[in-house]
Symmetry: C2
Subunit: 114 residues, 2 copies
């Protein structure tokens, strides 16, 4: 875990939504996917993850249902709504914008541009 969560804060929901865009998934699986994609650099803490699900569902961006596992632990699956897709796409644009802005603001007086 080498990324401080303050740098990811604000992207948690977007990252989750990315995992739900093309297929339904569940908490444990999403978190594993994030860990793998980041080569172990980052993982969501469970309390953070489930808190985010709660917010996303309250806002109508996802809906949930119980999987019909006949064996193993039960899974709560999440499905992205149309509103959720729009929210994700908007978030992506905001990220592109924020990225440029932060780059610029950090470059303001940075090393070697006196």
């Amino acid at each position: 875990m080498s990324i401080t969560s303050d740098l990811i804060r604000g992207h948690t929901e977007t990252i989750i939504m990315a995992n739900l865009y093309n297929k339904d998934s569940y908490g444990y699986e999403i978190n594993k996917a994030i860990q793998e994609a980041s080569d172990g650099q980052y993982e969501l803490k469970e309390a953070t993850l489930y808190g985010a699900f709660r917010r996303l569902e309250d806002n109508g961006y996802i809906v949930s249902y119980w999987g019909d596992q006949t064996t193993g632990a039960r899974r709560r699956y999440y499905h992205i709504t149309d509103q959720g897709k729009i929210y994700f796409e908007t978030s992506c644009k905001e990220w592109e914008n924020a990225k440029k802005l932060i780059d610029k603001l950090i470059g303001i007086g940075g090393k070697g541009n006196e």
Copy 2:
């Protein structure tokens, strides 16, 4: 103000440090510089700004002194320390790393890469 502060959270200190890297400055001036650089998209709230100064000074990354204005409102100037320069440079590297990671995580299942 079109950038939500959650996307900037975690970068506040780095942005301030960028403004202090090459010259001493003071709160009001730094905030104006940020507003201009972002074309009005972003500004630090005063409570946020002064809170960050406090943390940075407590951690030894900056030192402060009163300017000797003979006219106008008094200014508290901040000066970056050697430790502060290292902190800034480290933060920049972390940002480069986080940027790549977030790009990857948001791209996981995003639109059109089934």
